[in-house]
């Protein structure tokens, strides 16, 4: 099993030439970021970084990808750990999904990620899958990439040309396409610290627990009393990328969350989302579900969830 994306690819192409054993490849374990970048450069484009392997290994086994070289990045200390840096939380790219649940700093300063984590796959996958891997893959059905948008996070990237930081808002470009260039590594993700005047809400609709959602949403609001000063809302499983709904946000800023306002926000959703055709979840249905979910989450937020 692979991500929603890959599974879609492979299910559709099911009867094409495919396999269950990966093509032969070489393996290199990098101890530092530089070693990893260097190994990638030397292999040309024919290499892949491997982190948790929860998406890459199935893709290799099905021969959807067949790089000559795998560069294991899981032993790079610089990419590990969670710590405060000024008014941000630095979450190392190698932070595993299960650590999102167990790490106290995340529970305190990035509660939205903590709330989303139980919805990511199942325990065995969470024990290996990494935050950086999830963001790098940028599956539009994934929880964490969308939450980096809701959080206004910054993604730290190391590449042959040096280090840079990209805002989550600028990171996700299209299906499978991000600001990350071939041969570049995500080293950490910086998240603004959660503050006393903020509220958050997260939920998703899925047919089975642990599945990719039919539609999912996370939001974080800064409030004065009952008034919303600022709000960021991000959806997943609604299109080719994780999607911030700026039109909806605009209807809410400066307002109180009463029933009327929530209905207005739900009404605005249509112009922010354009769900793709899908044989099982028609666009109109996905939009309906997004509206229902938005209404419920804003309701929670109003209750001070």
């Amino acid at each position: 099993m692979v991500t929603n994306l890959a599974s879609r690819l492979m299910s559709r192409g099911i009867s094409r030439k495919r396999a269950v054993k990966a093509r032969a490849f070489s393996y290199f374990r990098a101890a530092t970021i530089d070693q990893a970048l260097d190994a990638h450069a030397r292999a040309g484009d024919d290499a892949r970084f491997i982190a948790g392997g929860q998406s890459l290994v199935p893709a290799l086994s099905l021969r959807l990808q067949a790089p000559r070289l795998l560069i294991d990045i899981t032993h790079i200390d610089e990419m590990r750990g969670v710590r405060r840096e000024g008014d941000t939380l630095r979450i190392g790219a190698l932070t595993r999904h299960c650590e999102m649940l167990s790490e106290p700093l995340i529970a305190e300063f990035a509660p939205l990620l903590h709330a989303a984590a139980p919805f990511v796959a199942h325990p065995a996958i969470r024990n290996r899958g990494t935050f950086g891997g999830s963001v790098a893959l940028a599956d539009p059905a994934s929880e964490f990439p969308a939450m980096t948008l809701a959080l206004g996070a910054e993604i730290e990237i190391a590449g042959p040309a040096g280090h840079r930081r990209v805002k989550a808002d600028d990171f996700f470009i299209d299906l499978c396409e991000t600001a990350l260039q071939p041969g570049e590594l995500i080293t950490a993700i910086y998240v603004p610290l959660f503050k006393a005047d903020q509220r958050f809400a997260f939920d998703e609709l899925a047919r089975r627990r642990g599945d990719y959602a039919l539609v999912g949403c996370g939001m974080i609001a800064t409030c004065t009393g009952e008034r919303i000063d600022d709000i960021r809302i991000s959806f997943f499983s609604v299109g080719n990328t994780p999607t911030r709904v700026k039109g909806v946000e605009a209807t809410l800023i400066g307002a109180r969350l009463d029933a009327e306002r929530i209905a207005a926000a739900q009404g605005a959703l249509e112009s922010d989302l354009a769900p793709p055709e899908s044989d099982e979840v028609p666009p109109a249905m996905r939009l309906h579900l997004a509206r229902v979910l938005l209404g419920r989450l804003l309701g929670h937020l109003g209750e001070g969830a």
Partner: protein, 791 residues
Amino acid sequence: MSAPLTSLDRPNSYIGRSVPRPNAKRLLAGRGRYVSDLRLPRMLHAAFLRSPHAHAKIVSINIDEARALEGVHLVATGADLAKICTPWTGTLDHFKGMTSAPQLPLPLDRVVWAGQAVVAVVAESRAIAEDALELIEVDYEDLPVVVDIDSAREAGGPLVNPGTANNTCFRSQLDNGTVDDAFAHAAHVVEEEFTFGRHTAVTLEPRAIVAEYDPSAGMLTVHHGTQTPYQFQDLYSRHYGIPEARVRVIATDIGGSFGMKLHVYHEDMAVVGLSILLGRPVKYLADRMESFVSDIHARDHRVRARMALDAKGEILAMDVVDLTAIGAFSTYPRTSVVEGNQVIRLIGAPYRFRNYRATLEVIFQNKVQTSQYRAVGHPIACAVTERLVDMAASKVGLDPFVIRAQNVIADDAYPQTSPTGYRFEALSHQACLKRLHEIMDYGSLRAEQADLRKRGVYRGIGIAAFVEITNPSPAFYGVGGARISSQDGAIVSLTPSGEVRCLISVTEQGQGTEAIISQIVADQLGLAQERVKVITGDTEVTPHGGATWACRGAGIGGETALQATRALKRNILEIAALILQEQPSALDIVDGEVVDAATRKQRLPIFEIARIAYFRSDTLPPGTQAQLTVSHHFAPQGYPFAFTNGIQGCSLEVDVETGLIKLLKHFIVEDCGRVINPMLVDEQLRGGIVQGLGAALFEECRYSETGQLMNGSLADYLVPMPMEMPDIVIAHVETPTADTELGAKGVGEAGTAAASASVLNAVNDALAPFDATISSIPITPAKVLKALKRF
């Protein structure tokens, strides 16, 4: 039943007792011996190139590069295997007029479904074999594709088998001639069209086979993950022209089967041929995605049905048309029409009405074959009948329990023959209904439902009565010319140290066959269960028999073991009587000791009898030949099938905004006759129900217009998982069959039979305030929201 077989307080009374499966610990410890794990010396690995087209002409195949790859031993096409394997045809004589094209391991010139195996590669490893697959070039020419039922039936439309008149595989009609009249005089008529999603078994262990042909001995040994080793021994022997005694099929541990692993698969037949061509062991293990496109599917039906009732809600008649699409071939050797046949024969089975008409049409299309999968036809027959009964109840203004109580065949009215010709020995619908009402606490459930509805919470309650076919006689397959046994055989021996070994033809797929056989043997002989060893699944060791399918293991296999053991006991007591100078009838065996039958006084341990018989026969009276091994065969006689019955109930909640359904609790009252091991019976029911709930809410093989399977992976094909499954409350009614001493009937399919029907009724009950109905499973959020007109 006159003399009860069991009195649980006497020693060694195992019939009716929950004892653990002796093999469970071994499997849990990771010591299972699955074919998937098997490695033989000199073993090679097969992989298959599959058709990307649902229907196409094979113009040319270029295998040169693949053949040249290092590590590749053989690349074989349809023509190579056709030279050594005779074709097979999936028809049976008792289905008059049925047709199906002959099949070969690999196609010669045409592919008929997307995913069909086309070329086989055998190599040192699976990875190398897959490397070679990438080097094969096949040139196809697209042919018109037949996908959905309607276009398959269109006159002048594309044909699955060019040259034939149409895409019909089989047609059948049941009609007692009185239906139109009954409908004309009915006070109420309810009618609905039902659709059922194609789904598949999804066993934990995929299909696995290792074939080993030894040319020096002319001997074929096949390690095969199957339920039916004897059937395959016969087939490999006949299609490859190897004498039966030189074909050995070994079916050891198997990671689930559910009926899926008793059919002939093209890859499996090919692997046998590849091993013959190479003279080496060849292994093939279907990967999960191959399983989705090559394991049999099931339950692709569209049923239009109506029911006539009188003013008081008495069912008068049913009129049914079942259309089912089965893929490009009928499956061999059990065919793909048994399911439809059982649908039209089981509809209405719990009820008393006499006027019935049903038409079955079985249709070819360009998809993988369908065939028998757990509860063959039952869930469809049950859903159609029970939904119509509920629709009738609301039309007449009766509670679902009341209309059923009014219409089921009375418990004291047996024997009965159904309007479709099934003969029922003794069923217990009334008792089951009553018990279900109690265990559901139906009154409180309804009160709670009414209460919650006021607060915008929509709960639904659904019930569904069912009849299950078990213990099949030769009427099932034998009469149609299939070499599929309905008898079983057992060989029971007293070992030199006084233990018992039982070789039996029924097989174990994790349901506990070996456990119940050892219980029956220990019980009947008078021995601790730990001292009985049961051996199954090896045609060279165990006697020929039907093995395990259609719920026959306990009823037929169990009776075989019972009678064999009684014969062994007679023989042991004869020797004991000689030694003790008593009449055999004055003796009995308790806990491994020969005792005085009247006083239970211990006389002689049976290991002493074994010691004397095996090692000191000189001390026995002249002319005595101790027979401490007994073989016995048993075939069911009397009723052609032992029918069972029961009823299920479901409580669930529908989120009317999202269409998501939460199962709250499930209930079943079941009557499988004599319960041998309550724990195993309950687990069969639970497992079966979960499979039925999967069908109700999740499972469906979805195809594109071009015949591509759209969701052939476990990420997209949803199977039921623990988080979504409700607690299941179980109760029993016991009506043993008088056809056997044991009195056991089957139970493996009862759970699956009515689970989806009770969910369908419960969902419709929940939606009742909205004037929204659903008549299609799986019940997806999209269908619920569509019915509620939410988008």
